[in-house]
C-alpha cells in the first residue's frame, strides 16, 4: 500500500464506519441505566431490555413480526423455487418475461406498492390479516429466493437428474429426492434473507397493519417521532440482534453450499 493512496483509503474506511455508526450508536444507547437518552456513563444496564420484554405491546409486536416473517418466507420459498425451476429447466414462451417480472417489485418504490395494495387487500377481505402483510412482503422475498435458487440450479450437474430419470424415477421423485437436497442450502440463504427483509420492513406494514397485527417496526415508528425514551433504543437493539443472528445463519448456509456443490 503506498502513501499516495492513503487519503482515498481513509475516505473509504470513514464511509464504511459511517454506515455502521448509527446502528452501533443506537445499540450503545440501549444499555443506559438512566431515564434519559444518553450514552451509558460507567455502568451498563439491561433495564430497558427488561422493560421491553415486560410490556405486552412490544412483545406482541415482536411475535407478530415473527408470524408475518414466517408466512412471507414460506410463500417466497414456494413461489421463488418453482419459478427458478421453470426458468432453468424448461424453454417456453414468456420465459424471459417471467425472469424480468420476478425482479420488477425491487424497482418499484415501497410506498407505491403499499399504496396500491391497501385498496386491493380491503377488497378481497384480507385487510387486517397477517396474510396481507406477509403476501406484500413476499413481493420482495420472491426475487431473493429466485436469484439464490436459480444460481444453485445452474451450478448443479444436469447428469444427476438425468441419471435419476434413467433409473426409473418419475418427475416428482427426481425433484424431491435429487434436486431438492442439492438446492436446499440456496433455499436456506434466500429464505433467511426474505425473512430478514420482512422482519425489518416498515412502509408496507405502515399501510397494511391494523392495530391488532402491528409489527415491531410499525410500533417503533410513532415512538421515534414523539418520544425520546431509551426503550426505543432497546427495541432497536432487539431488531438488530435478531437480524445479525439470522444473517449468521444465512452465511452458514452459504458456506455449506460452496462445500456441497464442490466447484
Amino acid at each position: 500500500m503506498n502513501l499516495r493512496k492513503l487519503p482515498l483509503h481513509t475516505l473509504c474506511l470513514l464511509v464504511l464506519a459511517a454506515l455502521m455508526w448509527p446502528i452501533v450508536y443506537a445499540m450503545w444507547m440501549s444499555f443506559t441505566p438512566g431515564e434519559m437518552l444518553m450514552p451509558p456513563k460507567g455502568a451498563w444496564s439491561l433495564r430497558w431490555y427488561a422493560t421491553f420484554f415486560a410490556r405486552s405491546e412490544w412483545t406482541d409486536s415482536l411475535n407478530h413480526s415473527f408470524i408475518v416473517g414466517a408466512l412471507s418466507t414460506a410463500i417466497s420459498l414456494v413461489c421463488g423455487t418453482s419459478a427458478a425451476v421453470a426458468v432453468t429447466r424448461y424453454q417456453f414462451r414468456g420465459r424471459q418475461l417471467l425472469q424480468s417480472a420476478v425482479m420488477l417489485p425491487l424497482f418499484v418504490p415501497a410506498l407505491v406498492l403499499a399504496l396500491a395494495l391497501l385498496p386491493v387487500m380491503r377488497m378481497i377481505g384480507l385487510w387486517g390479516d397477517f396474510l396481507s402483510v406477509a403476501l406484500a412482503h413476499s413481493l420482495w422475498g420472491l426475487p431473493l429466493v429466485f436469484l439464490a435458487v436459480r444460481g444453485a440450479l445452474e451450478d448443479m450437474d444436469p447428469n444427476l437428474e438425468l441419471a435419476a430419470r434413467g433409473l426409473g424415477a418419475n418427475g416428482g421423485q427426481t425433484f424431491f429426492s435429487v434436486t431438492l437436497p442439492v438446492i436446499m442450502p440456496a433455499m436456506g440463504v434466500g429464505g433467511l434473507l426474505a425473512f430478514i427483509i420482512s422482519f425489518n420492513e416498515l412502509v408496507m406494514a405502515l399501510f397494511l397493519c391494523t392495530p391488532d397485527i402491528d409489527t415491531l417496526p410499525k410500533v417503533i415508528w410513532p415512538n421515534l417521532r414523539y418520544t425520546l425514551s431509551p426503550l426505543v433504543a432497546a427495541a432497536s437493539g432487539v431488531a438488530v440482534v435478531t437480524t445479525v443472528l439470522l444473517l449468521g445463519g444465512a452465511w452458514l448456509f452459504f458456506t455449506s453450499r460452496r462445500k456441497t456443490s464442490g466447484r
Binding site: 482515498l8 483509503h9 475516505l11 473509504c12 464511509v15 464504511l16 459511517a18 454506515l19 455502521m20 455508526w21 448509527p22 446502528i23 450508536y25 444507547m29 437518552l37 414456494v78 413461489c79 418453482s82 419459478a83 425451476v85 421453470a86 426458468v87 424448461y90 417456453f92 414462451r93 417471467l98 420476478v102 420488477l104 417489485p105 424497482f107 418499484v108 418504490p109 410506498l111 407505491v112 406498492l113 399504496l115 396500491a116 385498496p119 386491493v120 377488497m123 403476501l135 406484500a136 413476499s138 413481493l139 420472491l142 434473507l193 425489518n200 412502509v203 405502515l206 399501510f207 415491531l216 417503533i220 421515534l224 417521532r225 426505543v232 433504543a233 432497536s236 438488530v240 437480524t243 444473517l247
Partner: protein, 291 residues
C-alpha cells in the same frame, strides 16, 4: 403431459403472486385515481375515502394546476438526483476498495455494508437523529473544537434529509458496483500493469471503462430508490422537506383523499419510468475497450 404445460405448472405460483399482487394493484391504482374523492365528515369517520364507480379526471386537473404539488415533485426529483450523485461519488471508491481488499478482510468490510442494508432502516435513522441532534456527538465535537458556536441544524433540515437518505441508499450502490467489479477479468489488470501502465493509467483506461455498466446500473438504481424517499424526509426533515412519498401517505391517512393519493402514486411511477427509460437509452455499451 406436454413439456410446455409442465413448465407453466412450475411457473404458476409466482405468476399468480405477481398478477394478483403487482399487476392487478397497479391497474387498480390507476382506476382509483380516476374516482371522485369521498365525502368528508368529521375526521373521515362515516365518510368514504372515494366514490366507487365514478369516472373523473378531477385529480389530475387539480395536480396539474396546483403549485404545491409541483413544488413537492421538484423537491423529490432534486433530492433524488442529489442523493444518487452522492451515492455514486462515495460508493464507487468504496466498492473499488472492497474489490481490492485481501480475502481475509473482505467478509468484515462486506458485513459493514450488508448489516446496515438489511437492518431495520428505523434503527439507522434513530441513531442518526441522536448523532445529528443539537447535543449529539457531531455538534458537541465541533463546538468543543471551537469551529462553531451554535449547534448546526443538522436535523429538521435539508442537510439531515440528504445525509439520512444517502446512508440508506449507499449500501445498494456499493454492493451493485462491487458485484460488477467482481465479474471483471482480473488478468486484464495484470496485463496492463505488465505492459508498463501505472496504477492510475490502469484504473482510468482499463478498470473504469470496464466497470462503467455497473456504475451506470448503480447510479440508476440509487436514483430509483432515492426518488421513493419516505422515511428520512419524514423523520429528519422539517415540514418544508416534503417528498411525493410523504405527501402520498398524508393524502391517504390524514386527508383521506384516496383518489388524490393514487394520482400522486401514478405521478411517481411516471417520473420513475421516464428516468429509467432515459437511463436505459443513455446506458454505455458493455464490452467497450479503450483504444
Amino acid at each position: 403431459m406436454k413439456k410446455s404445460s409442465r413448465a407453466w405448472c412450475w411457473a404458476a405460483p409466482s405468476v399468480l403472486l405477481l398478477v394478483s399482487l403487482l399487476l392487478w394493484p397497479m391497474i387498480y391504482l390507476v382506476r382509483l385515481s380516476l374516482n371522485e374523492g369521498g365525502s368528508k365528515s368529521g375526521f373521515g369517520i362515516g365518510g368514504s375515502f372515494y366514490k366507487p364507480g365514478t369516472w373523473t379526471l378531477e385529480v389530475y386537473r387539480t395536480l396539474a394546476t396546483e403549485h404545491y404539488f409541483w413544488q413537492v415533485t421538484w423537491f423529490t426529483v432534486w433530492l433524488g438526483f442529489f442523493v444518487a450523485a452522492m451515492c455514486v461519488l462515495l460508493g464507487y471508491p468504496v466498492a473499488h476498495y472492497l474489490w481490492q481488499l485481501p480475502r481475509r478482510w473482505k467478509p468484515l468490510a462486506l458485513a459493514c455494508v450488508i448489516i446496515p442494508k438489511l437492518s431495520n432502516l428505523l434503527v439507522t435513522i434513530y441513531g442518526l437523529k441522536m448523532i445529528l441532534g443539537d447535543h449529539g456527538p457531531v455538534n458537541e465535537t465541533l463546538m468543543t473544537l471551537g469551529i462553531i458556536k451554535e449547534p448546526l441544524a443538522l436535523q429538521h433540515s435539508v442537510t439531515g434529509v440528504v445525509i439520512g437518505k444517502t446512508l440508506l441508499v449507499l449500501p445498494y450502490t456499493i454492493l451493485l458496483i462491487w458485484a460488477g467489479l467482481e465479474r471483471l477479468d482480473r488478468t486484464l489488470i495484470s496485463a496492463a500493469r505488465g505492459l508498463g501502465a501505472t496504477g492510475w493509467q490502469t484504473f482510468s483506461r482499463v478498470t473504469l471503462p470496464l466497470s462503467l455498466p455497473a456504475l451506470a446500473a448503480g447510479a440508476l438504481i440509487s436514483l430509483i430508490w432515492a426518488l421513493g424517499a419516505f422515511i428520512s424526509p419524514y423523520l429528519l426533515g422539517s415540514p418544508e422537506q416534503i417528498t411525493l412519498a410523504v405527501d402520498v401517505q398524508r393524502q391517504m391517512f390524514e386527508n383521506l383523499h384516496w383518489p388524490r393519493a393514487a394520482g400522486e402514486g401514478v405521478a411517481m411511477l411516471l417520473t420513475l419510468a421516464l428516468i429509467a427509460g432515459a437511463g436505459a437509452l443513455l446506458r454505455p455499451k458493455s464490452h467497450v475497450l479503450p483504444r
